[in-house]
């Protein structure tokens, strides 16, 4: 038995331990992305091997925390947001243009007719396989989301989350199906002034059982300077 090892499992072990190189590494990495059984083997090996790195705690230098925080949250974290989101390129998509039109017309049809701020942002996953454009309508305190790429995996739904600066995240609502969804903002989220963060996760039907995302979070976006409608 030892002389006839399960080749796949050994490949997964070598991948997890870091012994694959060059073409073999690329091949295994690609396979891990497309073959869930192989990916699960890698995860099992990572879990086994990680015990070697489960060590007695060593306190890092006190300055390390401030350094990490500075790197992650520079002083003006949202200034580059519009550029980063690539939003205006996305907005040329017809689906989004239609959505914006819808948002604007429905806002114009609002009674009493008021002018209120409309905030737009794009939520994208790091790998670019999932994109959602969000329009926050502060006149109606609603958010309208439209998928422009990707979807929840089969048998799962999307759930929308939001929070204000240094406030706990909460569910805005479920997005069980369809290209787009319109959700009223919960009172705490409607009250946010300043940066409003929106996120989308994939969840079991019925939504996350934990009150926090329980599946993959596709991405978040911070919308700066959100103000109440006047």
């Amino acid at each position: 038995m030892i002389d006839n090892p399960d080749t796949d499992d050994m490949l997964a072990a070598e991948y997890a331990i870091g012994l694959l190189e060059d073409a073999a590494l690329d091949e295994a990495r690609e396979r891990a992305m497309s073959d869930p059984v192989f990916a699960a083997r890698i995860i099992e090996w990572e879990a086994r091997l990680s015990q070697m790195a489960d060590l007695k705690p060593v306190n890092p230098p006190a300055a390390a925390k401030a350094a990490v925080i500075r790197r992650l949250f520079p002083q003006a974290p949202h200034l580059s947001f519009w550029k980063r989101a690539g939003l205006w390129q996305t907005l040329t998509g017809t689906g989004v243009a239609a959505l914006l039109l819808l948002a604007i017309t429905s806002w114009q049809a609002g009674v009493p007719q008021r002018t209120g701020p409309l905030y737009t942002a794009e939520i994208t996953s790091q790998t670019g396989d999932f994109r959602v454009v969000a329009v926050v309508d502060k006149t109606r305190n609603e958010v309208i989301l439209t998928r422009t790429a990707g979807a929840a995996p089969a048998g799962r739904i999307l759930q929308v989350w939001a929070h204000g600066p240094d406030e706990p995240a909460q569910s805005v609502g479920l997005w069980p199906e369809g290209e787009s969804v319109r959700l009223p903002l919960p009172p705490e989220i409607a009250a946010v002034q300043g940066t409003l963060t929106l996120g989308v996760s994939e969840e079991p039907p019925g939504g996350s059982p934990t009150g926090l995302p329980s599946g993959r979070v596709f991405g978040t976006v911070g919308i700066p300077n959100v103000l109440d409608a006047i």
């Binding site: 090892p5 086994r48 990680s50 060590l55 995240a169 963060t197 926090l212 979070v217």
Partner: protein, 185 residues
């Protein structure tokens, strides 16, 4: 072993979920709860050097940026954090090593016994794995640790042990199979 109730899987998992939503205060809480564990990984791989601190910072940045993917991996929360950190530290070590003479580390691997510092660290290794590793022939245990904690390649390990590459590959694979079987008991 894990140092306090804030390291319960439920707590760490909730903090990771909040990080995925961009909750900065959750990130700070996660850092407070886990940084000593993750710094220990970096110190084990890179020694108590400024590079170990840099590697830990890099690991936390990856953790923040990839928190949304944590659930997809199927890991327990500490396993995920430790794996991200170990991989980050190993990448650093390899980058650093590529500038150095190969001879520098042959000595380390070829050394017959662990230094007192290494022995102390080894003694603290948690879980069934440590027990299982201790049942392996010494050369196989050394090779597995050399690969996982020192980032050595098959050819590094073969050179250090003075055996052909294929022999090292066989040792290591048999060692891993034995580990898997021991740990499943």
């Amino acid at each position: 072993m894990t140092g306090g109730k804030t390291l319960t899987p439920e707590y760490v998992e909730a903090m990771i979920a909040k990080c995925a939503l961009g909750d900065r205060s959750a990130f700070e809480a996660l850092y407070e709860a886990t940084s000593a564990k993750l710094f220990a990984v970096c110190v084990r791989v890179l020694g108590k050097t400024p590079i170990a601190e840099d590697a830990m910072q890099d690991a936390y940045i990856k953790i923040w940026n990839n928190a949304g993917r944590y659930r997809v991996t199927g890991h327990s929360p500490m396993t995920w954090l430790i794996t991200v950190t170990r991989n980050t530290a190993i990448d650093r070590l390899r980058a650093q090593r590529s500038h150095k003479d190969l001879a520098d580390y042959h000595d380390v691997l070829a050394a017959p016994g662990a230094t007192p510092e290494q022995a102390a660290i080894a003694a603290s290794e948690a879980g069934r794995l440590a027990e299982c590793i201790s049942t392996l022939p010494q050369d196989r245990a050394t090779a597995i640790k050399g690969a996982y904690l020192e980032g050595y390649s098959y050819s590094d390990l073969a050179d250090a042990a003075g055996v052909p590459l294929n022999t090292m590959r066989t040792w290591l694979r048999r060692g891993l199979i034995a580990l898997r079987e021991c740990m499943s008991q």
